[in-house]
């Protein structure tokens, strides 16, 4: 169990993490999602006692990290930046950590086999590829057989097979009742692994809820309808209480309805349909909408292009600067142009 209370980190005038409150519970994979520079790594480093919070606190099973008597037995962590001496072999790197906590040598061999580094265990880690380095970091995290595991961007540098492996590993660890806290900037990755989601943007916690709730709240779906007899069909659909939005390309977006229901209406009236497509916005889009106001590094004005896909998107350019997070209640509706 990880518990953050009003956790804050300030670098000069910049707030890297701002009054963050969240809890990471055992038995599930908790995703920690946010754009680059949102404060994910800083938060994780504060949890691990590497960075001192400017104010607030974070505890692991009730105590701060630096007070853990047997740190590697309680918490295992893969950090995003390299945390190994490249001149030391993979085996010796793990042996050093094992010795520091009195873990038996057998654990070193066990985790090396588990992550599949057996053939390079006696090689110096400086020559490792990104993916091999990542596996060594994961081996170090698993060394003490800990109840809490933290992974900062674990899929970075892994090949597809490695990505699948780490995904299954995290799920298996959570299924054993362990606490698994994993950060990512990819919603698609989280959607496949996380049971619970903590979203951070510009240091503020924007959401802390079960994945299912997040999906229900944030995913928007509609049915795209084309018909040569739209003039007749439109009013019939509207009369069922469904919201209808005519599009420039002569199609119509129907909200709150299922394709079958729309088909039934058209069939009953004897009207032709040329297209009946259920369009669901991806979670990636939901995430981008949620953090639209809190992305630190914008790439020009291409934000809208990334949200393309038949989806009505809030006009990113209408946001009055990136310093303003999007209030939750307007996520499902359009973001109205706000004037300052």
């Amino acid at each position: 169990m990880i518990q953050a209370t009003a956790l804050t980190k300030r670098y000069g005038p910049r707030l890297a993490v701002d009054q963050a409150d969240f809890t990471v519970a055992p038995g599930k994979v908790t995703g920690f999602l946010g754009p680059n520079g949102a404060g994910k790594s800083t938060t994780m480093r504060m949890i691990l006692g590497l960075d001192r919070p400017s104010s607030g606190s974070v505890t692991i099973n009730g105590v701060p990290y630096h007070r853990l008597a047997a740190p590697l037995r309680e918490v295992g962590a893969l950090l995003d930046a390299k945390a190994v001496h490249g001149g030391r072999t993979a085996y010796n790197h793990l042996l050093v950590l094992a010795k520091a906590n009195g873990l038996p040598r057998g654990r070193v061999d066990a985790v090396i086999d588990l992550v599949g580094l057996h053939s390079v265990a006696k090689k110096r880690s400086g020559g490792f590829s990104l993916g091999m380095g990542q596996r060594l970091g994961i081996a170090a995290a698993l060394l003490g057989d800990p109840g809490i595991l933290m992974f900062d961007e674990p899929v970075n540098g892994l090949d597809p097979e490695g990505i699948l492996w780490i995904r299954n590993l995290m799920k298996a660890l959570a299924a054993e009742g362990r606490t698994v806290f994993v950060s990512s900037h990819l919603m698609s990755e989280m959607a496949l692994t996380a049971d619970h989601l903590v979203v951070i943007g510009l240091g503020k916690i924007l959401a802390d809820e079960p994945m299912a709730d997040f999906i229900a709240k944030n995913s928007v779906s509609y049915v795209r309808v084309r018909s040569p007899q739209m003039a007749d069909l439109g009013p019939k659909l509207a009369s069922r209480g469904w919201r209808i939005e005519p599009q420039p390309d002569a199609s119509v977006h129907v909200f709150d309805a299922q394709p079958a229901q729309i088909g039934d209406v058209a069939g009953t009236a004897g009207l032709w349909l040329h297209e009946l497509t259920l369009v669901q916005s991806s979670l990636e889009e939901a995430f981008m909408r949620l953090t639209a106001g809190s992305v630190e590094y914008h790439a020009g004005q291409t934000g809208d292009a990334g949200l393309a896909g038949g989806q009505r998107v809030p006009d990113g350019t209408a946001m009055p600067g990136w310093g303003t997070p999007v209030p939750q209640e307007i996520q499902n509706s359009q973001v109205k142009e706000r004037t300052q």
């Binding site: 190994v84 050093v96 520091a100 906590n101 009195g102 873990l103 038996p104 654990r107 003490g144």
Partner: protein
């Protein structure tokens, strides 16, 4: 949790134990760190070769050129043969110890290893203490071994010219080599921890040893003498001297005490900053 059948611990796998990060274990971990990187071996080989070579070379050159030497030079040598055996080797060999000492701490920052270290031993002062003890003891032991080896090499080389005896007063000069190197290793380690940057810290310690410690005596008057005497490495180096320079104001042991005091002061500062600063 250890006995459970899981992805981490199948029943055949060894249990992980209590995993307490107590001091003895940190000592073992730091020892494992030191012996598992190549820079340790290169630096120690450089130290041993340089020290032993010079403890032969200087007596050899002295013996060969004895007739050309001035009476003053001859008198100085006869008064303090041990100092002349030890000092030139130590002057060169100390660089290897200083560089290795800096690397032991600063390379943890440049490689990112410090994060793994602190995850395994979050009590930071305890970690620094373990590192300091392991490294200082290693250098102390090696220093004493090469000191006596160098002494015997030098004595054999001087044989045709003079007999070098190890009287009770001179033992300090031989033991002093290990004492000085051990303290210098610790001093450099602390400097590496303060500066946290390999190149910067090496530049600092080498500049102190080779440049500042000598240039400082150019400052005129009493101030110059004080600065020269209390500069940490000059003060420490006095432990191997018999007749100290005129501008050196204190005794050999006092000098070593000054070096130890400097090291202790910087160690306390390093410990304080280690706890304060983000890793």
């Amino acid at each position: 949790m250890a006995a459970r059948d899981s992805v981490l611990t199948p029943t055949t796998m060894q249990a992980a134990g209590t995993g307490h990060a107590h001091f003895g274990r940190l000592l073992l971990a730091e020892w494992t760190k030191i012996r598992s990187v190549r820079s340790t071996y290169w630096s120690l080989i450089a130290l041993i070769i340089a020290f032993l070579f010079f403890s032969w070379l200087f007596p050899y050159l002295t013996v060969s050129n004895w007739k050309q030497a001035t009476p003053t030079q001859q008198a100085n040598l006869i008064e303090d043969p041990i100092g002349s055996i030890m000092s030139s080797g130590l002057f060169v060999g100390q660089l290897a110890v200083a560089i290795l000492g800096v690397m032991v701490t600063a390379s943890e920052y440049s490689t990112g290893m410090i994060r793994s270290t602190l995850l395994a031993s979050p009590h930071r002062v305890r970690m620094l203490a373990a590192k300091s003890i392991v490294f200082a003891l290693l250098i102390l032991v090696i220093g004493e071994v090469i000191a006596f080896a160098g002494f015997f090499i030098g004595r054999q080389t001087f044989k045709s010219l003079l007999t070098v005896n190890l009287s009770s007063g001179d033992v300090r000069q031989v033991f002093g080599v290990g004492l000085y190197l051990g303290m210098l290793g610790l001093f450099s380690l602390v400097l590496g921890s303060l500066i946290r940057h390999v190149a910067g810290a090496i530049t600092g310690i080498v500049a102190l040893l080779l440049v500042i410690s000598n240039l400082i005596q150019l400052i005129p008057g009493r101030v110059g003498k004080y600065l020269y005497t209390y500069e940490p490495t000059n003060a420490g180096f006095a432990i191997i001297g018999k007749r100290l320079p005129d501008n050196f104001l204190i005794s050999s042991w006092e000098g070593y005490g000054v070096f130890a005091a400097w090291t202790a002061l910087l160690w306390a500062l390093a410990a304080y900053l280690l706890v304060r600063r983000d890793a």
